[in-house]
Every structure is written in structure tokens, then in C-alpha cells.
């Protein structure tokens, strides 16, 4: 059996803010087809690392390669067009657009009809628009947001807004999905629904890389877990290995003082 190709290869990545090394010489691979999670205490540099992947921040050193293509110097939109699509830590549904329109906006990269075809209302453009709407509606059905489709997306509760944002990213059919704390602000029921969704997305063949605080969510669904502490990668393994790792326990709860007799 040939090993799975590498989706994301990160090597020697470094980023400093003033004197603080937020990401310190981090290297790892995310194999294609996995559901990989990145965890770490607050301030470990997880979000910074994420923002480096899509070039929202410029790294001080190191390389990021996506299915063999170096991402250095590419704009966020060009990276998205390569198939690396992300969501944000705070829900960022587009205000003033309905839930349906938000999801349709996620299909921007697959829209083929030229502007003039839409302007002159050509049949082909109309067909494409209808196909896109069908797909978007089907996805909204699947995540239980059908009744909300014509409401302003930002008028929804936070949990639903995060679902809209996730749907918007998924419908673009990315090769790899980057999720920045998808469970933040969700209640238990919403988190359980999210877990089912992530597993379904992963099962459909999409590589998923998720930054998450919610340990039980991560341990329940991830194939591999990476642990970041103070900008350094301190562990990389299966959920079971991570749960038994001393360095991880120390980073999260601190080391117990040695017992003196």
C-alpha cells in the first residue's frame, strides 16, 4: 500500500510579534484524507499558525506547501482557489445577505458563466444559477437550516451563524478545509451536531485540519492530534498517544510538585 500523499507540508515556520515568538520553528505534515486537529493552551500560537497558512500574516521564516505547491507570496484568494479553504474563529457570515446568499457566495469558485451571460439573462447562466441554488438548498436541508434560508444570516443565533459559515466553506468543495475553533460559543447539542458534520465532511474525502479548544470533540473525531505550546510543537500522534503524553499534560495542567517524604 502506498502512503497517502501529503496535503499540507509545513517546515521551519516562524513568526515573531515584537519580542514574542508566537510560532517557533514549527514543522509537520498533514497527510491527505485525514482529520487532523491542532490543540494547545490559550496563547500557544494556534490562530497565528492558521493565519500564516493562508498568508493573512507573513511568516518570518519557513515554508508551507499545499499538495506540492509552495504557498509563499500567494494572496488568500489564490490559496482558496488552490482548494485550501478556511473559516474564522469569530463567525463571519456576510451581514445584509440571507443565509441562502451566504452559502451561494461559497460557490464563487465554481461559478462559470461570464458576467455578460448573466446580464443578458442567457439560458445557460440561468441554468447554472438554478443548479447552484439546488445544491445550496440541499446542503441547508442537510444541516437543518432550511427554515432560515431567507433570513439575514447575521440575525441568526451564533451557533447557526457558525453553521452557515461552515456550509459556505464546504460547498466550495475544497481539497482541504481549515477550521478555526468551529465549536467556540456552541452549546452541547450544537457541538454534537458539529461533530457529526465534521465526520461526514471527512468521510466525503475532504482533508480536514481543525484548531479546537474542545478536547472531547477533538479526541472523539480526529485521526491525528498536534499539540502546540508557547509557539513550539510539543506532540504529534493519535488521540490515545496524546492523552498519555507527559509533555501535553504538563502544558495543560502543569507538573505536580515532586512529593518529598
Amino acid at each position: 500500500m502506498t502512503p497517502a500523499p501529503t496535503a499540507l507540508a509545513i517546515s521551519g515556520l516562524r513568526k515573531a510579534f515584537g519580542g514574542v515568538l508566537a510560532v517557533d520553528d514549527v514543522s509537520f505534515d498533514v497527510p491527505a484524507g485525514t482529520l487532523t486537529a491542532l490543540i494547545g493552551p490559550n496563547g500557544a500560537g494556534k490562530s497565528t499558525l492558521f493565519n500564516l497558512l493562508t498568508n493573512l500574516y507573513r511568516s518570518d521564516a519557513g515554508t508551507v506547501t499545499f499538495f506540492g505547491t509552495p504557498l509563499a507570496g500567494k494572496n488568500s484568494d489564490a490559496i482558496a482557489r488552490l482548494g485550501l479553504v478556511r473559516t474564522f474563529q469569530t463567525a463571519r457570515a456576510f451581514p445584509g445577505m440571507t443565509v441562502l446568499e451566504n452559502v451561494l457566495a461559497g460557490m464563487h469558485m465554481s461559478a462559470r458563466s461570464p458576467m455578460w451571460a448573466h446580464a443578458f439573462a442567457l439560458a445557460s447562466a440561468g441554468r447554472e444559477e438554478r443548479t447552484m441554488t439546488h445544491r445550496a438548498v440541499a446542503l441547508l436541508d442537510a444541516i437543518g437550516l432550511t427554515g432560515m434560508r431567507d433570513r439575514d444570516a447575521t440575525a441568526l443565533p451564533l451557533g447557526s451563524q457558525k453553521l452557515v459559515e461552515l456550509a459556505r466553506a464546504v460547498i466550495s468543495r475544497p481539497r482541504m478545509l481549515l477550521l478555526d475553533e468551529p465549536a467556540a460559543g456552541l452549546n452541547d447539542a450544537e457541538t454534537a451536531q458539529l461533530a457529526r458534520l465534521l465526520v461526514a465532511i471527512h468521510d466525503s474525502g475532504t482533508t480536514v485540519f481543525v484548531v479546537e479548544h474542545n478536547m472531547s470533540l477533538v479526541m472523539g473525531i480526529a485521526d491525528r492530534v498536534l499539540v502546540l505550546d508557547a509557539g513550539k510543537l510539543i506532540a504529534n500522534g493519535t488521540p490515545a498517544e496524546i492523552q498519555a503524553d507527559d509533555a501535553v499534560i504538563e502544558a495543560y495542567v502543569g507538573r505536580a510538585a515532586p512529593v518529598t517524604p
Partner: protein, 632 residues
């Protein structure tokens, strides 16, 4: 040599007044992050009230000047409390630029009613006898003006550096939230800075009143030059404002003397554009402040409630039928106003694509109307091309300028984008006046033919009406189709959250360029039709104040929906011609509409209508649903 010295001193006098205006700009910008386009209005107010107290009431000069400063303080304070401060609480920075633009229009309209349209000049403070220095005769007013500026600068420095109030003011400038937490009444500091800027403006007017004559709409000139000074110096920097003002004053006088008085303005604006692009923070500027992507882009303006597509379609069909049938019942005068409205509607639809959908503020839309208008007029009058070719010439010129402007402003956003378009508009204004060989200069270009095609000439009122509205309907339908598709969604995504738009693979600069090109094309087409309709074109018809009118129509009608511009256009074009007394106070009316619309109807008239329709639809659904069932 004497001439050069005299010109330089003249430039310093002019420049010291620009510097005072610029310091007022810098003060308001430092404390509130707002470019106060109404600053120049206080210059005119100061000069004209002094004139009235002195000449009409016969008060001594010093008393008249003091009283005028008092009037400016009271008016500045009232504007600050009732318009400016509420605006700061409700509007994003780009909305504030429009609000202060509306204030400038409002002041001009009010000054027109009070003082009429003739120019006024104040007597010099200490007689007409000049002082002779090194062979050059220098008017005594020069010493007064430079002295006043020096005293103001010294006083300002003392207040900012040495008093507790100055510290509070600087704290508000650095970080208003932290200042509030420290117990500083930010609102009071804002009101104070606006009032102080108003008094500074009036003082500049009193100082320059004996040097140049001023009339009701002179405020624009000082707003423009004060703004150029402060933008070149650095938006929030007092030293930059002072040096920028003096530099621009000297440059303008030297340019006028040795190059051409008409191109002196072009020179200054050219310099401004170079600085805006090369160093957006100015030569002495500090880092840009409060340029949070999302705060600047996500403005609360625009129609939020959606109309049901079927309702929208039937409204459109009804409207189209009304447009077709109106000439059967209306006479020539009414048809002519409606034709003008149709032309303006085409231009404002274009502006809506750029502002309402893509969220890019343009204060230079009239420049593209001018390019289309002059392109068509010059092609047909000077080169005897057929009218259709004239439209194409205008379109090529507009699109070429739009591409260049878009490329050099691609990194600018929010208010800097608004300011760059404003500067471009002013540049085109000055060229329309300056290139008189081609454009006919300030008096305009006559002898433009009516539009004609395939041997048919659109000569009478009815033919022109159908020409204009036929084109308007086609543009409306094409844009409506386009904006309903992926393109429209991409623009709206860019408007509210550029980072999230990029993350979906939307090529933001490219889509902004498309929006800009579409808006320029609509404006250009409207400009060509304007020239053919009037068979005449003058700079007034297509200059920067028109840009503000287009913005007014868009905002009051309702951004982000093509029907909004129609309501705005009908309100501001048809109403003043229909109600005669309103016609005299047209400028004042436009100013009040823009200011009131921004503060009270952020979604425009269309927003009010759609909200009402949505409420009614909800009630009908609820009434129709059997009790106990859940309406969906």
C-alpha cells in the same frame, strides 16, 4: 526679483490662511477620525458675517470680527451637538465624509439665501497703504494674516502640550475607548474640537476677506485647498498642516504667476494625488488610525429588508408601463424634467454598483459624467464625428481613466479611497475649465448636435424622453440581472468583509475594478446623453458639487438596490422643478436631504418602503394562518 518676492509673500499670505483651515481639519481629524469637508464653509461664514456687521450695521471692524467669531462658535457648536456628534455615533468614517459634504452643501444653500450670489470683500485691517521692503510693496494685510496664523499656532501648541484639556484631547485622538475609561468626556472633547475648528475657519475668513473676494459657494475652494494642505502634510499632523498650507499657498501663487492661473489648481491636485498614492499618511503624517477593515467597510447604510421577487417584478412592470405612457399625458416642460431625471438615474445606478454593492465610496463620480459629456461634445463639435461615435469616445476615455485610477488606488480603502476619487474629480474639473481650446473653458461648449442614429434625429422633447428612458430601462435590466448573480454576491461580500471574501477565493481587487468600470461606464453614458440633450456642456453641469448630489440621491433613495436611486433622483431632480419656492433653495434642500437622510434614514426611502411592505406581508401571513400554527 521684486515680482518674485511679492508673489512669494502673496503665496505666504494665501498659504497662512490655507494653513489655518488645514489646522482646523487636522484638529477634527485627530479627535474624531473624520475629514470635515464643511471646514471651508466656516471661512465664508466668518467673512460674510463680518461684512454684514461692519457694512450693514456700521459696527467698528474689530467688534464686527469678534461678533462674527461668536456667530461661528455658536453655529459650530450647534452643528457639533445636533449633527456631527450624532453622526459619529451612527456612521462609519466614509459616511461621515458624506455627512460633512452634505453640511458644506447646506451652508452654501443657506448663504445663498442670506447673502445672494454676489461676491463680497472686506476692507483691510489697517488701510490700503502698502509697506515697502527691499523695493517690493507689501500690503499691511500680509503682516496681519501671517501674524494671526503664528499666534494661533503658538496658542494651539500651548493648549495641546501644557494644559490638562490638551492632554484629554490628545488622549481622545489616540484611543477614545481608553479615554472614556479614564473618565474623559469624549463627547465634550469632540464637540469642543469641532467648535474650535469652526472658529478657526471663521478667523481664516476674516483674515483672507480683505485679500480675496468671497461669495456663498467660496467654501468649496477653502475646503479643497485646506484639505490638500492637510493631506499633503499628513492628516492628523498640526505641523504638517502648517507646512502643507504654506507650501500649497506659495506653490499656487508661483504656479499662477509663472505657469498659468488656470492650471495652478491642476498642479496642486496633481501633487495631492501623488502624495495620496505614494504616502497616504502625508509627508509628516503619523500611522493611519482607525483603519479597521471591517469597521470601515461594513456600513450600516443600504437597504436591508428584501422585497419578494414577485412583488419586485410587478413593481418593475408597473413602473415600465408608467414610463412608456407618461408622454401621452404630460407636456413638454414636465417631459424635459423627466428626461433630465432619466439621465441622472443612469449615472446614479452606476454609482450604486460601486457604493451600494461594492462598498467603495466615490466623491468623484461627476468626473466620469464630465469625461463622457466632453468626450461626446468634443468628438461631435470639434471633430464632426457622428453622435454614436461620440458616446464611444467618452466611454473609452472614462474606462481608461477608471483603469488607471483603480490601479493607483488599489491599496487605498475607506476614506482614503473617497479622498482619491474626490481629488480625481477636482482634477477633471480644473482640466474642463483649463483646456479651453477643447472644452470651451468656463463658459462651456455650444453647438453639440442632438443624438441621431440611422438618419433619425432625436430632436423634440418626446423623442428625447423615449431615448433617455429607453436606455435607462435597458441599463436597469442589465444591471439587475448581473447583480442578482454570483457577481452581485461577490460585490456584497467584499463590501461587508473583505477578508472573508478573499477566503472564498474572491479576487477582491479584480471585482472592485469591475465595479469601478461599470460605474464609470454608466456615468460616461449619462454624460454623453446630457451633452446631446442640452446641445451644450459647461464645467458647472458636471463638476464636483454634482458628485455630492449623486451621492445624496443614492443615500436618500437607498443604497444597494437599483430602485433606490430612482426614488432619490425623482426627489432631488423633480421636486425642486415642481415646487417653485424650493427651486430657489435647491442647494439648501439638497444639503438638508443628505444630512437628514444619513442621520435619520440610513436605509433611504426605499428601506422605509420595503420595511413597511415586509411588515404588511408578515401581518397578512399571520392573519391567514390558522390559530396555533407556526408561520414559516
Amino acid at each position: 526679483m521684486d515680482a518674485a518676492l511679492a508673489i512669494t509673500i502673496g503665496g505666504l499670505v494665501q498659504g497662512s490662511v490655507f494653513a489655518l483651515v488645514a489646522i482646523g481639519f487636522a484638529l477634527v481629524f485627530r479627535v474624531t477620525g473624520t475629514v470635515n469637508l464643511a471646514q471651508g464653509a466656516f471661512v465664508v461664514l466668518g467673512a460674510l458675517t463680518t461684512y454684514s456687521f461692519e457694512q450693514t450695521f456700521g459696527w467698528p471692524a474689530a467688534l464686527a470680527a469678534l461678533a462674527a467669531l461668536g456667530v461661528a462658535a455658536v453655529i459650530g457648536y450647534l452643528v457639533a451637538v445636533f449633527i456631527f456628534a450624532p453622526g459619529l455615533r451612527r456612521l462609519p468614517p466614509s459616511g461621515m465624509v458624506m455627512l460633512t459634504g452634505g453640511l458644506l452643501t447646506l451652508f452654501e444653500g443657506a448663504a445663498l439665501l442670506v447673502w445672494g450670489s454676489q461676491p463680497y470683500q472686506l476692507p483691510p485691517f489697517s488701510g490700503y497703504q502698502p509697506v515697502s521692503i527691499g523695493g517690493a510693496k507689501i500690503p499691511t494685510q500680509a503682516f496681519w494674516d501671517i501674524g494671526i496664523t503664528a499666534v494661533v499656532v503658538a496658542a494651539l501648541w500651548y493648549v495641546l502640550q501644557r494644559t490638562t484639556f490638551g492632554k484629554a484631547l490628545r488622549a481622545c485622538a489616540e484611543n477614545p475607548n481608553a479615554a472614556t475609561l479614564m473618565g474623559i468626556d469624549v463627547e465634550r472633547v469632540r464637540v469642543f474640537s469641532y467648535t474650535a475648528a469652526a472658529v478657526l475657519g471663521a478667523l481664516s475668513g476674516i483674515a483672507i476677506g480683505p485679500v480675496v473676494s468671497l461669495q456663498f459657494d467660496g467654501g468649496r475652494f477653502f475646503t479643497v485647498y485646506g484639505f490638500i494642505s492637510v493631506a499633503i502634510g499628513g492628516m492628523g499632523s498640526f505641523a504638517g498642516a502648517l507646512l502643507g498650507g504654506l507650501g500649497i499657498g506659495v506653490l499656487q501663487q508661483l504656479g499662477a504667476a509663472y505657469v498659468s492661473s488656470i492650471f495652478a489648481t491642476t498642479l496642486a491636485i496633481g501633487l495631492l494625488i501623488v502624495v495620496l498614492v505614494w504616502r497616504p499618511n502625508g509627508l509628516f503624517g503619523r500611522g493611519a488610525r482607525r483603519e479597521d477593515n471591517r469597521a470601515a467597510a461594513a456600513h450600516p447604510l443600504g437597504v436591508r429588508t428584501r422585497i419578494d421577487p414577485r412583488t419586485a417584478r410587478s413593481a418593475f412592470i408597473t413602473g415600465a408601463v408608467v414610463v412608456v405612457l407618461l408622454p401621452l399625458v404630460l407636456g413638454g416642460g414636465a417631459l424635459s424634467s423627466l428626461s433630465i431625471a432619466g439621465i441622472v438615474f443612469i449615472a446614479v445606478m452606476g454609482l450604486d454598483v460601486l457604493m451600494g454593492f461594492a462598498g467603495q465610496i466615490s466623491l468623484g463620480h461627476a468626473a466620469f459624467v464630465a469625461l463622457g459629456g466632453y468626450g461626446a461634445a468634443i468628438a461631435t463639435v470639434r471633430y464632426h464625428m457622428p453622435p454614436l461615435a461620440g458616446i464611444v469616445v467618452g466611454l473609452i476615455a472614462s474606462l481608461a481613466c477608471a483603469v488607471v485610477l483603480s490601479l493607483i488606488t488599489v491599496r487605498l480603502r475607506g476614506i482614503y479611497m473617497a479622498l482619491a476619487t474626490l481629488a480625481f474629480g477636482l482634477l477633471v474639473d480644473s482640466l474642463a475649465v483649463g483646456l479651453s481650446e477643447l472644452t470651451g473653458g468656463p463658459s462651456g461648449l455650444t453647438g453639440v448636435p442632438h443624438f441621431s442614429i440611422f438618419g433619425f434625429t432625436f430632436a423634440d422633447a418626446r423623442a428625447n424622453y423615449y431615448l433617455v428612458w429607453g436606455i435607462a430601462l435597458v441599463v436597469f435590466v442589465l444591471l439587475a440581472n448581473l447583480l442578482r448573480s454570483d457577481f452581485g454576491r461577490a460585490l456584497r461580500a467584499i463590501r461587508t468583509d473583505q477578508t472573508a471574501a478573499l477566503a472564498l477565493g474572491i479576487d477582491v481587487p479584480r471585482y472592485k475594478l469591475y465595479a469601478f468600470l461599470i460605474s464609470a461606464a454608466c456615468a460616461s453614458l449619462a454624460g454623453s446623453l446630457y451633452a446631446y440633450y442640452f446641445q451644450f456642456l459647461s464645467p458647472d453641469m458636471v463638476s464636483t458639487p454634482r458628485s455630492l448630489e449623486y451621492v445624496t440621491m443614492l443615500v436618500i433613495g437607498g443604497e444597494g438596490s437599483l430602485a433606490g436611486p430612482l426614488l432619490g433622483v425623482l426627489l432631488l431632480v423633480i421636486l425642486p422643478t415642481a415646487i417653485q419656492p424650493l427651486n430657489q433653495a435647491k442647494t439648501l434642500f439638497a444639503g438638508i436631504v443628505l444630512v437628514g437622510g444619513l442621520l435619520l434614514l440610513p436605509q433611504g426611502i426605499l428601506g422605509v418602503i420595503t420595511a413597511a411592505v415586509a411588515r404588511k406581508e408578515r401581518r397578512t401571513t399571520e392573519a391567514a394562518a390558522p390559530p396555533g400554527s407556526v408561520p414559516t
